[in-house]
Structure formats: C-alpha cells, structure tokens
Symmetry: C2
C-alpha cells in the first residue's frame, strides 16, 4: 500500500522514528508517455510527462509539504506560514489541516488562479490577499517568521526541496533505472529544478540510475529574472504559478544549470499557451498553463535544432507538468471558447456532427 513519499523513500529523507508522518498519500504520480507528440518527432525522441497534477492537492508542492509539515510537528511548532502564487498555499493548507496545525497564507491579491484560491480557503486557513506581488508577500512572511514562532514553509525551508527530489526518484524507478537524457521543468521560485537535480544525483551516486540528465529550466518571458540576470519588479505572465520576479532559489538554480550542463531559458506566453493546447488536444493531458512551460521549452529548442548532434541516438526526455489544469479553469475556458447551447432534440445535435 502506497503511504506517501516519506514512507516510500524514508532512507533518503531527514526523518527518524520520532518524526510524526503527516501525509495525504502524495507522490506515486503517473509518468505518462507522450505517444502522439513523440510519434510526430520522427521516432528520435521519447517524451514522458511527469504529471504532478495527480497529487492530492493537484501539484508537486505536496512532496515538499508532507516533509515540511511533518518536521514542523516534530519540532513542536503550532503554526505555519507561507507566501504563495497558489500551489504552495493549497498544499500548506491541506497538510496543516491534516496535522491539526494553524496555517496562514499570503497570496498576491487578484492574481492567483480560481482553483488555488478555493483550496487555500476550504481547509480553514487564514488567507491574506496582499495588495502587491508574490515577492512582496514573501518579504513580509520572512519578516514575520524572524519575529514570531511560526514555521516558514516556503521553499527556503530546506525540507521542502528534500521532499521534492523524490519526483526524480520516481522517474528513475518508473523507467527501471534509465534516467532521462534531458529533463525539462518550469522555473518560478526556482527550487524545483535543484530539487530534481539533487534527486537525480543521489540516485546516480547509489547506482540506482544509469546517467545524469541535463536540467533544462524555462521561465515565462515576462517573469524571467534568471535569464535576464536581474530582478523583475513587475513580473507579468498568464502562467501565474511562476509569476515571480525575485526567486528565492536563484543561486541554487544557477548551480544546477552549471553542474548538469543544462540551461535556463525563457518562452513567451504564446508559446506556453500553444504547448498547453497541444497537451490537451493531442495527449488528453490537462495541466495548468505554467506546467506547459516545460513542453514549450522543448519545442522551442527542437525548432532551433538544438538536438541536432543527437541525430542517431534515441533521446529520452522527461518533462515535469507541475500542476493540474483544474487549478485555473478560467484560462481553459478563455482559451477554448464557450459551449454551443441547443434544445434537447436529436436534430439539434446532428447539426453539429
């Protein structure tokens, strides 16, 4: 019986017999073979999507949160706090509820997706909508935790990235020890790319995988501080989950890029939305817009002939889809249009066939 990532990967995580495990049976998410997209690429590439939307709160954040909340409980903390573009607050709210801890989340007012707002609210969390950006919210949260005994559960909390690295373990396990050649991943607050790298590196050292992938991070063009090399004061992108101008894990992401011989690049909102629709139309996968950044990045590089030197080898690509499309229903409807209204008669249906 799958009992969550701490139970399954205990030996790789900073827990002991004294750690109370707070879990929603997160992890164990599907690695979906992108059959249709792969077959259009002349058989040279095998694309696998790590669909993190299948986690209990609908995003990869559950992996880090089970560990952060379990450790906070072990250390006697009574309350947790975080800033969030939506996915972190959803996970914090759910795991804190399960642990019986108080929880406070700060979100940028008016700019998180509807589903994520619903998640923050439904678990009984105190939800504060800050007149400002995510970066403002994170700054305030840091100030609060320096003065008051709340545990910070943003990804500067080291347990978060320790939990998130298990997604890389699962990929290698799913592929029976064959690590990917390239791993594509969206970059927002920039913690997840280094968490995956840590996971791949630990597994490789233990000979549980056969190679190290190159880590390919992608930011949204309007919120690409790492690519531009400076803080973005007013980040703008439809990919709200990665609308961050001053990433907390900036330096870690740069180290990951260098160590893995990878890159950190950017894609436009239009490229993101195209990839978002390709996933839905061609593979039946509905992810949130920010998630599609990974496929948009791959397609951009593919069009640029980036992979030309790999002509003769089959290349195994994994792409993280960070969150479920249900997180942001408005974007889907805006993208796809409204339904056609008809009377309940067969003739009316036939007109549309």
């Amino acid at each position: 019986m799958w009992k969550g990532i701490i139970d399954h990967y205990r030996e790789f995580l900073p827990v002991s017999d004294r750690t109370p495990i707070v879990t929603l049976n997160e992890g164990n998410t599907p690695l979906i073979f992108g059959k249709n997209i792969s077959s259009r690429l002349d058989g040279k590439f095998k694309l696998f999507f790590k669909f993190e939307g299948a986690n209990p709160t609908g995003s990869f954040k559950d992996r880090g949160m089970t560990l952060a909340i379990s450790k906070a409980l072990e250390e006697g903390s009574k309350a947790v706090i975080c800033a969030s573009t939506g996915n972190t607050s959803a996970a914090a709210a759910a795991f804190a509820a399960q642990a019986g801890m108080k929880c406070m989340v700060l979100i940028p007012n008016g700019s998180i997706a509807l589903g994520k707002l619903a998640q923050a609210l439904i678990h009984g969390t105190i939800v504060l909508a800050v007149d400002g950006s995510f970066d403002d919210a994170l700054r305030v949260v840091k100030e609060v935790t320096q003065k008051y005994p709340l545990t910070l559960v943003n990804s500067i909390n080291p347990y978060r990235l320790e939990g998130q690295k298990t997604a890389a373990f699962e990929i290698c396990d799913s592929l029976e020890g064959r690590a990917p050649d390239f791993h594509f991943i969206p970059v927002g607050n920039a913690g997840n790319i280094s968490a995956y790298w840590q996971g791949y590196s630990e597994y490789f050292k233990l000979k549980k995988s056969d190679r190290l992938p190159r880590m390919m991070g992608f930011q949204a063009a309007g919120a690409a501080p790492i690519v531009e090399g400076h803080v973005i004061e007013k980040p703008e992108t439809i990919a709200t989950a990665i609308r961050i101008g001053n990433p907390a894990n900036w330096q870690k992401a740069l180290s990951t890029k260098e160590e893995s011989k990878g890159l950190i690049d950017k894609v436009t909102d239009q490229e993101i939305l195209e990839a978002y629709q390709i996933l839905a139309h061609d593979e039946g996968i509905f992810c949130e817009p920010a998630s599609a950044t990974s496929l948009a990045g791959f397609l951009k590089l593919h069009h640029q002939n980036f992979f030309e030197d790999r002509k003769k080898e089959e290349t195994l690509i994994t792409l993280t889809l960070t969150g479920h499309g249900l997180k942001d229903p408005d974007r889907a409807i805006k993208t796809a249009g409204e339904p056609h209204v008809i009377k309940p008669r067969m003739e009316e249906v036939i007109k549309w066939m």
Copy 2:
C-alpha cells in the same frame, strides 16, 4: 511502472492482445486513512477514503473511460458521444483526445461545475449545452446513437462498469486482502455502486479478499429517485455530479443493495456540505460536494446508532470520494468565504494571527 488499470488488471478485463490501450495511467489512486475522523469515533471504526480525485481527469470516470475508449478504437469507431453532469464528459474528452477520436458531449446548460466545463472544452471536444436536465441530454444521446455510428460512452456502455470495478480491486490490494466491512458510495446514475460490488465479488470468489462488504449507497435528498421509488422530474442538489432524476443503472443498484445486504438512502444538501467541510478541515482532503455524500451517509447512520451491534469489533469502512474539489471551485469559495485583503506590511499580518 504503473501503466493504467488495463495493464495492471488485464486478466480481469475484456481485452485481448488486439485491443489498443488508450491510457492516461489512470487508477492507482491513494487510499487515505481518515486518521482524525476515525480517532474521534472512539477507536471503533477505521475510515479509509478512496480518493478518486487523484485520477488524471480528477474523477473515478477515468477507470471506465480507458476501457470504453480502447474498445471503441478496437471496434473501429471514429467518434464517441455521451451525456454528462461533467465528470464523464471530462474523461471522454481526455481519452478521446489521446486516442485521436472525435468526441461530442451533451451537458445540462448552466448546471455543471466550472472546472468540468473547462475540461470538456480544452480537449477540442464538441460541447453542446442542452436547455434541460442531464436526463434530457441522456435521452437525446441515446436517440442519436440508435441512428448514427457514434459509440455511446455513458455507463450503459458495459465496458465502463468493467473498468470502474478496478477501484474495488485496488482497495483490497491496498489493504492486503482485507476487504472492508462496509463500503459507502454516492449514487447518481447508479453505475458505480454495482461496479464496486462486481469488483469485490470477483476478488472474493478468487480468494484475493477475505470478505464481502455491505454496499451503502447514498443519494442527495433532492435527487433521490431510487430512495423515493419514482423518477424525479426536476432533481435539485448542490451535488451537481449526482443531480440525476432517472438513473440509467437503477435496477443494477437495487440488485447490489440486495445481494450485499446493503442499503440505498439519502442525505440532505446541508449534511453533504457539512461532510465536505469536515473532510477539508479535519483531514486536509478537498473533494467535490457530491463525493462528500459518502461521508455524510456514514455520519447519518452513525448518529442513528446503526452500527450498535458492532460494538466490540473494529469496523473497517471504506468511502469513495468520486472527484476532486477543484472540479467545483465556486462551491468552495461560497462555503468558505473570501480572503482578507491587506497591505504588504508585517503589522497587517500580525493583526490576523
């Protein structure tokens, strides 16, 4: 590597080597121990929630749809059609997209949850919003499939229930062969309760489980035709997924009730919303309102001392949570209220601590 329910439970399903498998790696969903609710019930009950919201399209419908679409493809069908309160259309749209088949869905206009509408639209399906109820939509769809060569993928398609029975297999596997004493489940179109019963029965016959559970089905009070014993012309409930007045699998549900010595009862919208909030507040589980019908049913019977004769035994209860809370974000926000808006300053946060 988990490759979906057909791959994993192939020997129990009507597939052959010629069946092309259309899968999104559905199934393998978490069975979450309801630690906090169970501990409040004096140690007499162990409640486990089968969280079907962790399926790729966020509901249990994926289990039946992988089989229905795979078989339709095997049989040479080019297009599928269904009526839906939302979850079936989401699954049909996604699996048809993966299969490269045309898909048409009929939904009751204005009364499906926002997330489900987004799902139907994003996969490139033809979405027709019928001025009428789900029952009207199903009637029209049946007429269309009698005249035109589209495959009907509502649960009157026998492959749907065959796929859905795998949830019962997974529960027995998760509990290492210990089947539950009671299984609680929402009843709408009434197919799932008989699918679970079929699954439990097949496993028991093969000695893969140690007992047969009593199947406890619950309808919403405003849409309870099976309980009332007659068709409901205008079904009304906030649990939109089970807002059905003339269930397609009515007789099967009654047989299941009798064979399993179970029952089919009803709960009010208020009881459903209470259970919905208990799950979110106490266990950190966010399901759609209709899903909470199973817990509402258990709590109703518990208050009525239904389980009194089991005083001395520990009773193992499983409850199906059919779909993710993200399917219906509006209901969550309506239930939980709006966030507090603040300026990005520490003093403002401290006021709310």
